[in-house]
Amino acid sequence: MVRNLVAVAVVAAALAMPVGAAELTIVSWGGATQDAHRAAYFEPFAASTGIRVLEDSWSSEIARLEAAARARPPRWDVVQVNAATVRTACEDGLLEPIEEHFRALEADLVPGALQRCGVGSSVGATVLAWRTDRFPSGAPKRLADFWDVQRFPGPRGLRKSPRVTLEWALLADGVPREELYTTLATEAGVERALRKLDAIRPHVAVWWFPFAQSIDILLDGQVVMTPAPNGRVLKAVRSQNAPLGIVWDHQAQNMDYWAVVRGSANRKAALDFISFASRPEPMRRFVETIFFGPTLRVVAENLPPEVRRWLPTAPENASTAFFVDPDFWGTYGARLEERFQAWLGG
């Protein structure tokens, strides 16, 4: 009997293993973003080249990238990375330098999109999301309205992390955008941010942790306002007709990049994929699905108005936006995380 069981197991595992020679393993963020990547990029690329695309997901856990890159051959080929990882992993030799290969593309991309080891793929944002059915007398329009519990009563949600939270506290307290990170780099700036958070703390009902929770607590009515990724808010509005709105004021933008894992056995196919994903037509399809900002200027300029109005990069939404500074967080992240964690416990 044991022999039979083992035989069944081997057959089942073998059936689940993919077959075929040409393969490319692409790693994205999972969930709605990966669904959009699949529809706009993975499937059309596979159809046009005959290369089978295998997918994985990650959340920027460097240990996984290291494990994937150090295996022989590397387990991943193309990976989505954020603005911090595209620099640090490149410096640490985990990603291939591809800047020169895509140099011709530079003029077509928005500033900052071409990095030594990455090509910008989209611009997402953390926005202030709110329940449209809770404030019949007027919608919140500014970031400072998150702190205005008189005009906009109801429980709040905040991310259990200093990132964006501290920036928003300073901006809501009147620090100009251009002085944001120089202020946060000082002890006085950190104290000021924490004092501002003290003011809203009694009204924070949920300190959320995974991004999925931010939308969940809004849909469930546990909170009436919370920071959330713009793509997830719009997905809930479109797919579930959820009563959610977005305050674009002081949205915290971040750029994602396509990168090639160092030593990839499928380097040529990986570069071909990034070229494909940097063409206007697939990028337009991606943007229309998930409402992230495009990195190709020509796509941004030619989108229909009903799509453009939902994008974090649309001029009317981006007038007060700021980019989350990866260098700042690389430098001060450890110290601020300790301060924030101690503040949460205090």
Binding site: A12, A13, T25, W29, A63, R70, K160, I215, T331, Q341
Partner: protein
């Protein structure tokens, strides 16, 4: 011995990694050479020259990143220091700034560092030596104390609940229900169960605020304890059940002749005999709880981040392998005292030397059966909550339909089934090896229980990295990695079940068989295997279920090439909790199938015949 060797190897690797400074000396060789003999001003000059001459952008970026980080650690960067380390303009530094730069260079260039280990007691290196961090930055010691308290409370409660369930299992009328409850709980991935408890807490807060206010609402520590116990009590209950079924019936009959009622016999006959199993299981639960972070993070208070939460932070948000290794070491060290206590408890109790007739026929008191039933219901609460929500919620039903139609979900189920069978066989085989060892060298059991507990205390992340490294070194083909890793993954709990049973077997049986001329193979076939069969079956089932419910190992070791349900759920849940609710509908039957299997396994029936 292999397990102990693996634990020792991983601990040594963690120590090396915690001491490794990831020095940038190769990027700044001249500065590194000058740092021992030059004064602070001269060192700044050498550094500025070398940085200015660095042409490779990656090298330059590494230098800038490391030094700005080092300087930010000890205070504000300031414009002079910032332009010195970023643009090599160091001429404007005053003496104090030059001294800070020299200290930062020392920290960045040293080949090894004690910093990560010192950080475990909230100490930090300063130019004057190590100093305690101010309270607004000292987070590790409070986190360690909180984690220990949490793990102790969970271990105590799980032992209580698990013992009641395990002993109640002797009552034939409730056994199927208890098995059903336990296996539903074991078949529920912790990710899914946590979201189930979260939904229940929200529902209570909305519709039964008085119940929520007694500690069952969101952000309640009682809820965190209840949820964790519901996930871990089965790993006490099953070993206790396996041990209790081997308690000699004659002892019960003697106690009965002395006028002892059912309850008194539980306390005077059963509990003393299953005590070593309780110790071993409590140590396992403690070790496993120290690694929990999703439950306290999602259900608990914002200030209740556990040690494993810090580990997650140092492996993703702020990648720092040294800090992550030091915290992993701390997790193992935290579990070590309880592992040793469990070992001492095993060593201190004498084996029972009577006939091996089990006491299952003795049954258990009605009150205990009721307590066991209530306890086993605990583990089914999250799945039932999610099911109800899925049935009621249109959006969740749509997610269920999408999940059912996803070909990757189907592939994941097939692959999980295959790997589960291989892992179950592997665990049973490893368990058999332990059984044989125990028959020949009982003292080795004590070493094994310590190794097993410490193995459980190792974060899955570390174990996965260890497997990958070993596979790369040994040239092990990828398809073999998962079954091997999962065979070992569930082994500690399986071993706890085996210990309980083996300790209660009569050594004279082996002596008698030997006198009769039985060789090693005959002993194994006719005595060891039949007697250990129920425990081996339990171990194999737990291994199979852990393949379906664990996420970290599939994420690291296989990913999409061999998609398992743990990997699949993790990739979907990150975006949408509704997936957990939908998955519950698919997972509930899995628990009952496992319970049915446990009930009908030929191995169990053979053991009954043996009696």
């Amino acid at each position: 011995m292999l397990l102990a060797g693996a634990v020792a190897g991983i601990v040594a690797a963690l120590l090396v990694s915690a001491l490794d400074n990831r020095s940038i000396a190769s990027d700044l060789p001249e500065t590194a050479a000058a740092r021992a003999k030059a004064g602070v001003g001269e060192l700044a000059r050498v550094f500025a020259l070398e940085l200015a001459a660095a042409e490779d952008p990656a090298r330059r970026a590494r230098i800038v990143r490391r030094l700005t980080r080092e300087l930010a650690r000890t205070g504000e960067l300031g414009p002079s220091l910032a332009s010195c380390v970023r643009t090599a303009a160091c001429a404007a530094l005053d003496e104090a700034e030059a001294a800070r730069l020299a200290f930062a260079l020392e920290q960045a260039l040293a080949p090894r560092t004690l910093r990560h280990l010192a950080r475990l007691v909230d100490l930090e290196p300063t130019p004057e030596g190590f100093a305690f961090l101010p309270p607004e930055r000292a987070i590790v010691v409070p986190t360690v104390l909180r984690t220990i308290l949490y793990a102790l409370a969970v271990a105590a409660l799980s032992t209580l609940v698990g013992a009641a369930t395990g002993l109640a299992m002797r009552r034939a009328s409730v056994r199927p229900l208890l098995l059903g409850g336990l296996f539903v709980s074991l078949a529920t991935p912790h990710l899914v169960a946590t979201i189930g408890w979260l939904d229940l807490a929200r529902w209570l807060a909305a519709f039964a605020p008085s119940v929520a206010s007694v500690g069952l609402g969101p952000g309640s520590r009682t809820l965190v304890l209840l949820a964790t116990v519901s996930m871990l009590a089965p790993i006490v209950a099953l070993p206790v059940a396996a041990a209790a079924s081997a308690v000699p019936r004659a002892l019960h009959e003697l106690a009965q002749l002395d006028g002892a009622g059912p309850w008194r016999r539980v306390f005077t006959v059963d509990l003393p005999l299953v005590r070593p199993v309780l110790h071993a299981s409590a140590a396992l639960v403690f070790a496993q709880t120290t690694g929990f972070f999703l439950v306290p993070e999602l259900l608990g208070r914002p200030e209740d981040r556990p040690l494993a939460g810090l580990l997650a932070f140092y492996t993703s948000e702020l990648p720092d392998p040294g800090a992550a290794s030091a915290i992993s070491l701390l997790l193992v060290l935290t579990a070590a005292p309880l592992a040793l206590a469990a070992q001492a408890a095993l060593g201190g109790s004498e084996p029972v030397s009577t006939d091996p007739t089990g006491a299952d026929a003795v049954g258990s008191p009605r009150g205990l059966a009721l307590a066991g039933l209530l306890a086993s219901i605990l583990g089914t609460i999250p799945l039932v909550t999610l099911l109800v929500r899925t049935v009621l919620g249109a959006a969740d039903r749509a997610t269920l339909a999408a999940l059912a139609a996803d070909p990757m979900a189907a592939r994941a189920l097939v692959a999980t089934g295959g790997i589960a069978l291989l892992a179950a066989s592997g665990t049973a085989f490893a368990g058999l090896l332990v059984t044989v060892t125990a028959a020949m060298r009982p003292r080795l059991l004590q070493l094994t229980i310590v190794a097993a507990t410490l193995w459980v205390a190792l974060p899955d992340l570390v174990v996965a990295a260890g497997w990958l490294r070993s596979a790369d070194l040994a040239g092990l083909p990828e398809p073999w990695l998962l079954p091997l890793a999962f065979s070992v993954h569930a082994l500690p709990v399986g071993l706890a079940a085996l210990f309980g049973r083996l300790r209660l077997l009569d050594p004279t049986l082996f002596e008698a068989a030997r006198v009769d001329g039985a060789g090693g193979a005959a002993l194994l076939r006719h005595i060891v295997v039949p007697l250990a069969a129920p425990a081996l079956a339990v171990a194999a089932l737990i291994a199979a279920l852990s393949v379906a419910t664990t996420s970290v190992l599939p994420i690291f070791l296989a990913g999409p090439r061999l998609p398992l349900t743990g990997w699949y759920l993790w990739t979907r849940l990150r975006d949408d909790f509704a997936v957990a609710r939908a998955a519950a509908v698919l997972l509930l039957p899995l628990g009952f199938v496992a319970a049915g299997l446990a009930w009908s396994l030929p191995a169990l029936r053979r053991a009954d015949r043996h009696r």
